[in-house]
């Protein structure tokens, strides 16, 4: 169970946000009331919230930051001329 997905919220939310999101999730009827209640319970408990914060979010920022995406300096002209060397004889 991913309580963040059920409540459609991200990890940096307050307790008030969590409670508000329950109402929204109930209205959306995407998940059962039981699942929504369990998701709320999981996130209102600081220990299990911290555990879910660890499990539910992949952290790729350190890897992206380490990558240099500077394009090569010399990029050829975009246009190329058509070659006739493969043309069939008429």
């Amino acid at each position: 169970m991913n309580p963040y997905k059920i409540l459609n919220i991200n990890s940096n939310v307050t307790k008030a946000d969590i409670i508000l999101s329950v109402t929204t999730a109930m209205r959306a009827r995407k998940y059962s009331a039981d699942k929504i209640a369990r998701a709320q319970k999981e996130l209102l408990n600081p220990i299990s919230k911290a555990a879910h914060d660890f499990i539910q979010f992949l952290d790729i920022e350190p890897f992206l930051k380490a990558i240099d995406l500077t394009p090569p300096k010399q990029t050829p002209s975009r246009a190329i001329e058509r070659l006739s060397l493969f043309d069939e004889k008429m």
Partner: protein
């Protein structure tokens, strides 16, 4: 008049004859001549029949001619023949064929017009005419018309339409000509589809310098496009159309992020594939970063879409270059948490990647970089305790997965799942110990890992050093006892694999995986434990004779005395003969080894060996598998091992008495009375004397019925009296003998 009638009859006969032979034309003529003089309706009908049949034959002939023309590709002449035939028969198929031929003829005209325009360089017009000709032509060779149309479209710079044409050609599974392949790629390149262009040009095998140079140019354009795409995508991720920040943690909701990533995985996957292609086919250098970036972005989007298995295939698949080990080598602990998360998610959603979960989970949870992630603003002063609780919560969440996996695998004989669970349990304890040993020392945090992780990533020796450093001469400075110390180290040593197998109760595998020689104390301990446990396994299952595996016993007991206690308990509980025999063999092996090693005397083992030996001997004796003599020897041996063995002692006493009785009975039966009396006199056991007198009493009872005469009877009675008096001169049997002597008129001995 008569002559006229006969002439008419002859003509009629002639006509009938022609008709019969199928010569309808002549038959019709003859019938017409007859009808001229005789207007008979029957003849009229025959004339009509012959006319119709003749027309049919003509039509048939025309179709035949038309087909001949078609074979010679004379479509116009053929068409005329079909038209004539149709005029006769009016058959539908002929009309259809005429239509087709008319169109083809027209198409040929259009095609030649198209060629003329192409030759003149009016490619746009030529393309239209080729298309017209293609539509008119329903025969083979249409694909070539399409390829000509596409070529003209390229030459007239109508690239999009040209691409559509080439797509159609390829859809029809028609192999493009060299010219078409080149033109197709050229059009694709002009439309910015460089990757597809290069793939199409890959079909052309050519060493032409101009072409190779052009390919290189397109490859460079593709490289630039990938950079552009990634930079644009990155910008797009950071700010969506309504200006809402979406990147990473800033995305308002997971749904928002998922929406922003719609189709993104496809682009990223294509970019990744293109990067790989440029690297492999064009030898472009410096694309590793690009590839890695694509991969990470792809993984991110797949994560949002919960496609964990796809990510696992990318990361854990050994056939993929960026597999987890390589990633760990590159990224170190930064990636560890992600590998742990991924394996957790895979295990949770599909029950797969359990091995990876066991490999990464604990190491990730105990790593200081992860420890920092457990922080929460709500954890005020007692942060350490709370973070420890988070770690325990995560461990229990993963434990739940194992329980679930265990239930799912229960009964299906999934050994690997059971093994993985055993490993999980061991590692849970081991990593907690190593964490305590490191105790937050920064230089050593990388050593807080599970044994398999340590071996996999080459830090096992460092962990062993760490364990040694926490040891005093008895191995108890940190560890509970020496066994705890050696056990912890052995998992990180070369015997670790065997110990895992042992834990999973795969005893044979454990034995087979032992190293030939031990390099250190941990390996020595591991070997002892595996050999000893395998011996126990043999003892209980009878897999093979266990004796030789118990030579490890004394050394192991010296480290871990509980093994000795456990064995003693089991040996004491053995009550079946086979079981006792095996235990005796095992205990004897241990005892002999201890003597060889001159180690501390194994008092418990010695005592239980004595007990099992005497019990086994009795059991064999009771089952007539052992005689008194062997029993006595065995019991003496048991008593030598343990003089306090009361069981053996009591048994031996009984046995000795029995042996004397046996010997005495033997002497009595042979009338060696002196010997018999001597045994009875010298015996320490009353049982023997009693047996002697019982024998004598039996003899007295039969004296009346014996066939001896009175003097002989008196002689026997007197001798019996002497023997009995020698054994016991106060025994009541003497009175009985006296009465009998008197009865027979003898003189009572004094």
């Amino acid at each position: 008049m008569k002559k006229s009638v006969s002439k008419s009859g002859a003509m009629l006969a002639k006509a009938e004859k022609f008709m019969k032979r199928g010569n309808y034309l002549f038959a019709q003529k003859e019938f017409a001549k007859v009808y001229k003089n005789n207007k008979d309706s029957v003849i009229a009908a025959k004339i009509e029949h012959c006319r119709q049949e003749a027309a049919k034959l003509k039509a048939k002939d025309l179709v035949k001619r038309a087909r001949k023309y078609l074979k010679k590709n004379k479509k116009l002449a053929a068409c005329r023949c079909f038209e004539e035939a149709y005029a006769i028969t009016g058959e539908k198929w002929l009309a259809e064929r005429i239509g087709e031929l008319t169109e083809a003829a027209a198409g040929n005209d259009v095609e030649s017009a198209a060629r003329q325009h192409e030759a003149k360089g009016d490619y746009s017009k030529a393309a239209k005419l080729y298309e017209q000709s293609y539509n008119l032509n329903s025969e083979t060779g249409r694909s070539l018309l399409k390829q000509r149309q596409a070529a003209c479209l390229v030459k007239s710079e109508q690239y999009e339409q040209a691409i559509e044409c080439y797509d159609l050609i390829l859809e029809g599974m028609n192999a493009p000509t060299l010219e078409s392949a080149y033109n197709y790629g050229f059009a694709l390149s002009h439309q910015g589809r460089h990757f597809r262009c290069l793939k199409i040009w890959g079909l052309i095998v050519s060493g032409e310098k101009a072409f190779l140079k052009q390919k290189e140019t397109v490859a460079r354009l593709l490289e630039a496009d990938i950079y552009k795409l990634l930079l644009l995508s990155d910008a797009h991720l950071q700010e969506n159309v309504v200006g809402m920040p979406l990147k990473g943690e800033d995305a308002k909701t997971p749904d928002d992020k998922a929406k922003s990533l719609h189709n993104y995985p496809h682009d990223l996957a294509a970019a990744y594939e293109a990067s790989c292609y440029l690297q492999s086919d064009f030898g472009f250098k410096g694309l590793d970063q690009l590839k890695t970036y694509c991969q990470w972005r792809l993984i991110e989007s797949l994560w949002v879409e919960e496609q964990y298995e796809t990510i696992a295939d990318l990361i854990f698949n050994p056939n993929v270059s960026n597999r987890s080990a390589a990633l760990l080598e590159t990224w170190g602990p930064t990636i560890l948490a992600n590998l742990a998360r991924l394996s957790y998610k895979c295990a949770q959603t599909s029950g797969r990647q359990l091995t990876e979960l066991a490999l990464y989970w604990f190491t990730a949870l105990y790593h200081p970089t992860t420890w920092r992630l457990f922080s929460n603003p709500d954890f005020n002063n007692d942060e350490f305790e709370k973070k420890t609780e988070v770690r325990l919560k995560l461990i229990s969440m993963a434990d739940a997965i194992w329980s679930h996996a265990g239930r799912n695998h229960a009964g299906n004989g999934s050994q690997s799942s059971d093994e993985a669970k055993s490993f999980w349990d061991i590692e849970k304890q081991l990593i907690a110990d190593i964490d305590s040993l490191v105790n937050g020392r920064k230089k050593m945090v990388h050593l807080v890992c599970t044994p398999r992780f340590a071996i996999h990533f080459g830090v096992a020796d460092q962990v062993l050093e760490l364990i040694r450093s926490a040891n005093d001469s008895q191995g108890v400075r940190y560890f509970k006892n020496r066994e705890h110390y050696l056990e912890s180290g052995s998992y990180y040593s070369a015997v670790g694999k065997s110990l895992y197998y042992l834990k999973a109760q795969a005893y044979k595998k454990a034995l087979d995986n032992l190293p030939e020689n031990s390099q250190n104390e941990f390996e020595k301990y591991g070997i002892l434990k595996v050999r000893y446990t395998y011996g126990l396994y043999c003892l209980e299952t009878g897999a093979e004779p266990p004796g030789r595996y118990f030579d490890s016993g004394p050394a192991l007991f010296a480290i871990a005395p509980h093994y000795e206690t456990e064995l003693v308990k089991k040996a004491e509980e053995a009550n079946e003969l086979d079981q006792m025999t095996l235990y005796e063999e095992a205990l004897n092996g241990i005892y002999t080894q201890a003597l060889k090693e001159k180690s501390e005397p194994l008092v418990q083992i010695q005592k239980v060996l004595s007990l099992v030996m005497s019990r086994r001997a009795l059991e064999m004796f009771n089952k007539d598998m052992m005689n008194n003599k062997t029993l006595s020897i065995t019991l003496k041996k048991a008593l030598k091992l343990n003089p306090q063995n009361e069981f053996a002692r009591g048994l031996l006493e009984e046995t000795k008495a029995d042996l004397e009785i046996l010997e005495m009975e033997k002497a009595l039966n042979r009338f060696k009375m002196h010997k018999a009396c001597k045994i009875a006199v010298e015996s320490d056991y009353p049982k023997v004397t009693e047996a002697f007198f019982e024998y004598m009493e039996y003899g007295l009872k039969g004296i009346h019925e014996s066939s001896h005469d009175t003097s002989q009877k008196l002689l026997i009675l007197n001798e019996t009296y002497d023997w009995c008096a020698w054994v016991d001169d106060k025994h009541p049997i003497l009175d009985e003998i006296e009465i009998l002597i008197e009865e027979f008129g003898g003189e009572v001995p004094q």
